[in-house]
């Protein structure tokens, strides 16, 4: 099977899943429609009608982690090809990646020391 055929299968799987879901929705629709009633379509908050919009500027307290994550995550892009040839390259690979990871870990340690790794 060529690579392109495999991607085609994956695309087909995606589309098939969507089709399946909509088929189920259609079946549910046949069973009955939603009876429109007051209060029913308001977000449920434990017995209170909560109508205030909640789409406001949200304070994510983990943004220190998020910033480090954005940069640190890129490391993975380099690690996968490295891992695949690791055994063939041997010690060179170990040292090379050791330096790379040490550099990144340094950044992590800096962030840690400055309080990026905490709830802000």
């Amino acid at each position: 099977m060529t690579a392109l055929a495999q991607y085609a299968i994956l695309l087909g799987l995606t589309l098939g899943t969507v089709a399946f879901v909509y088929a189920v929705y259609a079946l549910a629709r046949v069973i009955g429609r939603v009876q429109p009633e007051p209060g029913k379509d308001v977000p449920a908050t434990a017995g209170t009608l909560s109508r205030d919009p909640v789409w406001v500027r949200y304070h994510a307290k983990y943004y220190g982690y998020a910033l480090l994550f954005l940069a640190f995550d890129m490391e993975m892009a380099f690690m996968y090809p490295w891992a695949v040839v690791y055994r063939e390259e041997g010690l060179v690979a170990l040292l090379d990646m050791g330096v790379f990871l040490a550099i990144l870990f340094l950044g992590l340690l800096y962030g840690w020391s400055q309080g990026a790794l905490r709830r802000q």
Partner: protein, 723 residues
């Protein structure tokens, strides 16, 4: 079935109805804690508990609800998807508008019978050819429009926000809700200049004139800052000066023709040619550069007005006279020239550049079509006239501990929140996922102790016990002791011991119930299961039975003491310093040697000694309750009998009595007056009232989960609150 879905029951629908009948998801009111206290085990009845009415198909009422909880029950019912059923256990009435599909007895057997019946009803009636729309007064709403950025801007019409020009978005509020109640209290003082809270909807002008017109204060440097109260300017900190510009407006008809008072108003304004932000009511020199102020006939001091006038009358004067700097939108001049800040040429703007601060929300916006047209015309390049300053938005808003200014959302937790006692309502203002502000209220608070004047003692005892379903025995004991003290009767010491044993049994059950709640709250399923089972067994267990349960209790306690993850989750949460108002396990966990039992002769006879902990956080309270469970087991073992407190025959005695009982939540104190064998006056102090006041302090800046655990660790009983 009243909550059936529309549709004829046939074929496939019959199959589905059968499945629905077997798949009962229950939302229990007022809460699962009450179910346990009533000895009802929902899991044993093969029910699945849901955490939100959205996932439930059965609304289960455990007895009739207090009046204030009825609306919430109606809302919960309305939010369930159809088909939905109501099961009512016990005696009493359902909230108005709801009708039970099945009524049963308030007991485990009653529940199981009711469910049998319900299964039949659902499989036959999940679909009905004709269904009725469910509606109730609690669900009535009206639509109002608000600016997403300026929550204080509220209008009854669609339109644009007078502050930023954004489209107002519709939102619903309960029909009875006042506008003021919806504006976030925090945000109101932060935005004083631009929106007097009255500037809302189609109000009656006669109502608000004097307060609004007389009480204006403005900053000498920032004329846009207008406040109803004296104070300092949020921008520069200078003292606000009083402005009397509108004092004579009082009582006016606001739908006036402007010709009536334009001269008086316009004459009063002077501004500096170099510093257009300098506006004065009197001629003089500019505080910034010393130049003479020039007279302006614009609307500079119009803010705070209600513009129910026809804009066309003075539109020309207003729109023609505005010039603004493309880089500094706050620089607005009536004449062409250069910007005092950067020297760039001012551009002509025909929009609402200096309109900010006006409040148009009450106006008929159709009159503003002209402005909108101008706005689009001016948006070619440079600053949009609608440009909204984010700095202004965040100015003066509360700052989070990390220095960022975010928006708060008001989220109700309760009265039917799975992690909290049923009937407890927490209204939290959340800053992201942490609590900025909280207000707690009880929707199940006890009513008057004496319903109809003089009450017979027996009835009084029952009433008090029924008013606190989470710990009825303790309150029964309290009532009996107070009655005996009023009637000057002595109880035989063996009886007293037996009663104390009953109170201790309830303490074990109550603490186990708290553990079960903790398990539910923290997703610790094993704890929830074991504690629930033990609580249900021990509530009605006799002496032998309790002794037999001892090893099981001990093993649960040992398991909890070993749980590092539980300790990790609880420690540091909800810290309380040594606080005089607290009592019960909460006080003892922070090292306070306070226990009503230590003065009680009966307990002294049993060898009681107060157990205290240290730490004062949720982990310490867990530790304390575990220790108290052990202690109560020992006390029961020493007492030889166990019997529920019954009021002694007190005849026609008169007098005043007082009693204190250490309930599972702390010391409760009852004073009552007995007149000719009838209770004529009574007053009660419960531990929960003091603990309610702690909520705010222990949830400050905590993450929601931590905050809820902190509140949960207080073991509040909203039933004990007085209205």
């Amino acid at each position: 079935m009243i909550g059936a879905r529309q549709g004829a029951l046939s074929g496939f629908r019959r199959l589905i109805a059968g499945a629905m009948a077997r798949d009962l998801c229950v939302f229990a009111l007022p809460g699962i804690d009450v179910a346990r206290a009533r000895g009802i085990d929902l899991r044993a009845a093969n029910l699945r508990l849901t955490i939100t009415p959205r996932h439930a198909s059965v609304l289960l009422f455990l007895g009739s609800l207090p009046k204030r909880l009825e609306d919430a029950a109606v809302v919960a019912y309305a939010q369930m998807p159809r088909p939905r059923a109501i099961v009512f256990l016990g005696a009493g009435d359902l909230p108005d508008g709801l009708h039970a599909d099945v009524i049963g007895e308030l007991s485990q057997a009653g529940l199981i019978n009711a469910l049998d019946e319900l299964t039949k009803i659902i499989s036959e009636g999940a679909f009905a050819a004709q269904v009725q729309e469910f509606d109730a007064p609690a669900l009535q709403t009206r639509i109002e429009y608000t600016c997403p950025m300026h929550p204080e801007v509220v209008s009854d019409h669609e339109g644009n926000c007078p502050k930023c020009g954004m489209n107002l978005v519709p939102r619903e509020i309960s029909a009875g809700t006042a506008h003021a109640a919806h504006a976030t209290p925090e945000q109101e003082p932060a935005m004083p200049p631009k929106s007097p809270p009255q500037a809302t909807a189609n109000h009656d002008h006669s109502k608000h004139t004097s307060a609004e017109a007389t009480a204006k204060y403005t900053c000498p440097m920032h004329p846009e800052v207008v406040s109803d109260e004296p104070g300092s300017c949020p921008k520069c900190g200078m003292f606000l000066e009083e402005v009397k510009g509108e004092a004579d407006h009082e009582g006016h008809d606001h739908h006036h023709d402007h010709s009536k008072h334009t001269s008086a108003e316009a004459a009063a304004k002077y501004t500096c040619p170099m510093h257009p932000e300098v506006v004065s009511d009197e001629p003089g020199s500019c505080p910034k550069c010393g130049m003479f102020l020039e007279e302006v006939k614009g609307e500079a001091e119009h803010e705070g007005h209600e513009h129910h006038h026809d804009h066309s009358k003075h539109a020309s004067a207003e729109t023609a006279a505005k010039y603004t700097c493309p880089m500094h939108p706050e620089v607005v001049s009536d004449e062409p020239g250069s910007c005092p800040k950067c020297g760039m040429f001012l551009e002509e703007v025909k929009g609402e550049a200096k309109h900010e601060g006006h409040d148009h929300s009450g106006n008929d916006h159709s009159a503003h079509q002209g402005h909108d047209a101008h706005a689009s015309g001016a948006s070619a390049d440079g600053i949009e006239p609608q440009f909204m300053s984010m700095i202004e938005l965040t100015e003066g808003q509360p700052v989070s501990p990390d220095g960022l200014i975010m928006e708060w959302i008001d989220v109700p937790f309760g009265p039917f929140f799975p992690g909290l006692p049923g009937g407890l309502g927490l209204d939290m203002s959340l800053d992201g996922d942490s609590v900025a502000k909280v207000s707690a209220h009880s929707l199940v608070s006890a009513g008057e102790l004496l319903a109809e004047g003089a009450t017979p003692p027996e009835k009084f005892v029952e009433r008090l016990a029924a008013m606190s379903p989470l710990s009825p025995v303790s309150y029964r004991q309290l009532a009996c002791l107070a009655l005996e003290s009023a009637a000057k009767q002595e109880v035989a010491s063996s009886d007293a011991t037996a009663r104390a044993a009953a109170v201790e049994r309830e303490r074990i059950a109550s603490h186990l119930g708290w553990l079960a709640n903790l398990g539910a709250q923290t997703g610790f399923a094993m704890l929830e299961r074991r504690a629930t089972n033990l609580e249900l067994t021990i509530r009605d267990a006799n002496m032998d039975h309790i002794a037999a349960l001892d090893p099981e209790i001990a093993s649960l306690l040992a398991r909890l003491r070993k749980s590092h993850m539980l300790r990790d989750k609880l420690s540091g949460t909800g810290h309380i310093d040594h606080c005089s108002a607290t009592s019960g396990p909460v006080a003892r966990a922070s090292g306070k040697d306070d226990d009503a039992r230590s003065d009680d002769a009966t307990y002294i006879g049993l060898g009681f000694a107060t157990v205290t902990g240290s730490g004062g956080d949720a982990a310490a309270r867990l530790e304390q309750r575990l220790a108290e469970i052990e202690q109560s087991c020992e006390l029961i073992a020493k007492a030889e009998h166990l019997s529920l407190p019954e009021p002694a025959k007190i005849g026609a005695a008169s007098g005043e009595g007082e009693a204190v009982v250490e309930t599972p939540r702390g010391a409760a104190r009852l004073t009552l007056t007995l007149t000719d064998g009838m209770v004529t006056a009574a007053d009660i102090g419960t531990p929960t009232a003091a603990h309610f006041t702690l909520i705010e302090a222990i949830t400050q800046h905590a993450e929601i989960a931590d905050a809820l655990i902190a509140v949960g660790s207080l073991d509040l009983s909203p039933w004990e609150m007085r209205p």
